[in-house]
C-alpha cells in the first residue's frame, strides 16, 4: 500500500515537470481535452515490474499507436486501460488512469463498468464459437446488462449498426444465424470489432488487431480504424511501424516498460527526440 502511494507521489512529480531529462520527449500536455489521462502508472507480474511510471494523455477521437519491441510493455499498458491486466494471475497495477476525469483505479469503481466504457479487440480473433454471428455481436448487450431485457428488434438494430460500422454487414447479412466460426479470419476479427462496438465504448483498445491477418484483411482493418475515429477514440498496439505511420495521429514509443517518446505521429517518425526511439524507427534494433 505504501509502495503504491509512493509511486503515485513520484509520478505526480515526473508527470508535471518538463525539466527532467526525459520529460520533453514524452510530454503529452499539448493534448488539452484528453479522453484518458494516465498518471504514473506502474504494473507488475508477480515481482517483475513491467511498466514504470507511465504518464500519457489519450487524445479524443484520435488514433494513438503504441510501438516498441516485443516485451516492452505495450500490451500490458493497454490492458491496464480497461483493467484487464489484473485478471492475469499475479498481476497488479498502481497509479491513476483517468477516464473523463474519473480514476478507473479508484476502489469505488467497478472494473466491469470500466470494461463497458473501454472496449478491447485482441490479437487473435476470438468470436464465441458456441454463438451465431448475430449472438456474437449482441453478446455485450445480452450478457452484460443483467436485469435489462432487450426486444429482438432493438437487438437487431444494434447488431446491424455495429456490423455496418465494422464494414462486415454486407458480407454476413444473409447468414446471421450461422456460427461465427464459419467466417474467415479477417471477417472474424471485424466481427470482434463489431462485438466491441455494440456496447458503444468511449475508447476502443486494439492489441495488434491485424497481426494474425493477411495484407488485404489488414488493409480493411486499417480503413475501418480510420472510419471509426470519427466517433471514437482508439488506442492501438502494433508491431508494424508502417501501420502506425498510416493510421495513427499520435505515436508512443515504449522500451522496457518505459514510455520513451510521445508525440504527433509525423514528428515521432521524422524528428524523434530520443536517440533510442530514432534507433528503433530507423531499424537499428528491434
Amino acid at each position: 500500500m505504501s509502495a503504491q502511494a509512493g509511486a503515485v507521489a513520484a509520478v505526480e512529480e515526473t508527470c508535471g515537470s518538463p525539466g527532467l531529462p526525459d520529460g520533453a520527449a514524452v510530454d503529452s500536455t499539448a493534448i488539452t481535452d484528453p479522453v484518458m489521462e494516465v498518471k504514473s502508472l506502474n504494473a507488475w507480474y508477480g515481482s517483475f515490474q513491467s511498466l514504470h511510471n507511465i504518464c500519457m494523455r489519450v487524445a479524443r477521437q484520435r488514433v494513438t499507436a503504441l510501438i516498441g519491441p516485443s516485451g516492452c510493455g505495450k500490451s500490458t499498458f493497454i490492458r491496464c486501460l480497461n483493467r484487464m491486466h489484473e485478471m492475469a494471475p499475479g498481476a497488479r497495477a498502481a497509479g491513476q488512469v483517468l477516464l473523463e476525469g474519473e480514476d478507473i483505479y479508484d476502489p469505488q469503481v467497478d472494473p466491469v463498468a470500466v470494461r463497458r466504457a473501454v472496449g478491447m479487440v485482441f490479437q487473435k480473433p476470438n468470436p464465441f464459437p458456441a454463438y451465431s454471428i448475430f449472438e456474437n455481436v449482441a453478446a455485450g448487450l445480452t450478457l452484460a446488462r443483467v436485469g435489462r431485457r432487450f426486444y429482438r428488434s432493438q437487438l437487431a438494430e444494434v447488431v446491424e449498426r455495429s456490423l455496418r460500422q465494422a464494414a462486415l454487414w454486407d458480407e454476413v447479412k444473409d447468414r446471421l444465424r450461422q456460427p461465427a466460426t464459419t467466417l474467415s479470419g479477417g471477417q472474424q476479427q471485424r466481427l470482434c470489432i463489431a462485438r466491441a462496438l455494440a456496447v458503444e465504448p468511449k475508447v476502443l483498445l486494439m492489441d495488434e488487431p491485424a497481426a494474425a491477418l493477411d495484407p488485404i484483411s489488414t488493409l480493411k482493418i486499417e480503413e475501418l480504424i480510420l472510419s471509426l475515429k470519427e466517433q471514437r477514440t482508439i488506442v492501438i498496439v502494433t508491431h508494424n511501424m508502417q501501420q502506425a505511420a498510416r493510421i495513427a495521429d499520435y505515436t508512443a514509443f515504449m522500451l522496457m516498460g518505459e514510455l520513451i517518446e510521445f508525440g504527433p505521429t509525423a514528428q515521432v517518425f521524422t524528428t524523434p527526440r530520443d536517440k533510442r526511439c530514432e534507433d528503433y524507427i530507423t531499424g537499428r534494433f528491434g
Binding site: P89, N126, F128, A130, Y131, L143, P179, T181, R195, A196
Partner: protein
C-alpha cells in the same frame, strides 16, 4: 551406393513389419470386446420376447416371465444417480477449473476425487447403506440411486474440469472485455462452449454406473414385484442378472443372458447419445 540400397530395403522391411504388428495389436484388443458382444447377443436374443419387457418375473418354468420392473427400476435408479452426481460433479468441476486454481484446497479436492474414483464400488454401497438404509431400517431405491450418484461424482468432476480447461482463455478475456460479469462469463460463454463435451461426459458417466451391481446389493436390494415408490426395494437389471445367473435353473440363466443383452443395449444407446452430443451444430473447436 550398394550399402545405401541395402539400408533402404531393410528400412522398408521394418516399416512393413511394424505396420503388421500394429494391426495385429488392434485385432487382439478388439477380439475380446467383440466376442463378448456377439456371445451375449447370441445367448441373450433367444430369451427376449414381448413378455420380457412388459411382465414381472415369474416362478421357474413360467414362459411368460419378464423383467419389466427391473428395466424400469434401472432407469429410475439412473435418474436419481444423475440428479445426485451431475450437479455436484459439474459444479465441483467448474470450481476446480475456473475459481480454485492450484491451491492446497483445490489440489486436495482433486486428490480426493481421484481416490474416490478408485474406491471399490461395494464400499460405496456400504456407505450408502450406513447413510440411508440403517437409519430407516429398510432398503430403498433412493439409497441405490444415491450410491450410484456418489460413484459418478469423481468422474464427472474431473471430466468437467478438463473440458472447461479446454475452453481457450481468449474467450474468457473477450467476455470480460465486453463488460460481462465473471459469473456470467462462466455460465454463458465457458459452459456453453463446453456444453457438447459436458453432455458426452455426463452420458459416459451414466453409462459407467448403469452396469454397477455391488453398490445396489444392500441398497436398492432388488424386488420381484413392482415397487410403489423409491422408498421400497427396487429391482434393477444388474441385480436380476446376478440373482438369475447364479441360480440353478436353466430358464432363469437364459433370462439372465437376456437381461445382460438389454443392459448392453441401454449402455450402447447412452454412448451413442453421448456421441451425438459432441457433434452439435456449433462445434467447440476453434481454428
Amino acid at each position: 551406393m550398394d550399402v545405401d540400397r541395402l539400408h533402404r530395403r531393410r528400412r522398408r522391411w521394418k516399416e512393413r513389419l511394424m505396420t503388421v504388428l500394429i494391426y495385429l495389436s488392434v485385432l487382439v484388443a478388439l477380439l475380446p470386446l467383440f466376442s463378448i458382444l456377439i456371445y451375449v447377443a447370441i445367448k441373450g436374443i433367444g430369451a427376449l420376447n414381448w413378455d420380457f419387457f412388459v411382465r414381472l418375473p415369474g416362478p421357474v418354468g413360467d414362459p411368460h416371465a419378464g423383467m419389466a420392473n427391473a428395466i424400469v427400476g434401472t432407469l429410475e435408479l439412473l435418474l436419481v444417480a444423475a440428479a445426485v452426481g451431475l450437479p455436484i460433479g459439474i459444479l465441483a468441476g467448474i470450481y476446480l477449473a475456473e475459481f480454485g486454481g492450484h491451491g492446497l484446497f483445490s489440489n486436495s479436492v482433486r486428490f480426493l476425487a481421484d481416490v474416490l474414483s478408485g474406491v471399490p464400488s461395494i464400499v460405496i454401497g456400504i456407505f450408502a447403506y450406513a447413510l440411508m438404509v440403517l437409519p430407516v431400517k429398510h432398503f430403498s431405491g433412493w439409497s441405490g440411486g444415491v450410491a450410484l450418484g456418489i460413484m459418478m461424482i469423481p468422474v464427472v468432476t474431473r471430466t468437467t474440469e478438463e473440458l472447461i480447461r479446454m475452453v481457450p482463455r481468449s474467450l474468457r478475456e473477450a467476455g470480460l472485455a465486453l463488460g460481462v460479469p465473471r459469473w456470467r462469463v462462466t455460465v454463458s460463454i465457458v459452459l456453453r462452449t463446453a456444453a457438447g463435451g459436458l453432455t458426452t461426459g455426463a452420458m459416459l458417466a451414466l453409462a459407467r454406473v448403469a452396469g454397477e451391481t455391488a453398490p445396489l446389493l444392500f441398497t436398492a436390494f432388488g424386488n420381484r414385484y413392482w415397487h410403489r415408490s423409491l422408498n421400497e426395494p427396487v429391482a434393477a437389471l444388474t441385480l436380476q442378472i446376478y440373482q438369475y445367473a447364479i441360480s440353478a435353473f436353466e430358464d432363469w440363466q437364459r433370462q439372465a443372458w437376456g437381461a445382460a443383452f438389454v443392459l448392453i443395449i441401454m449402455v450402447l444407446i447412452l454412448n451413442i447419445l453421448a456421441r451425438l452430443g459432441t457433434r452439435s451444430k456449433f462445434s467447440t473447436q476453434q481454428e
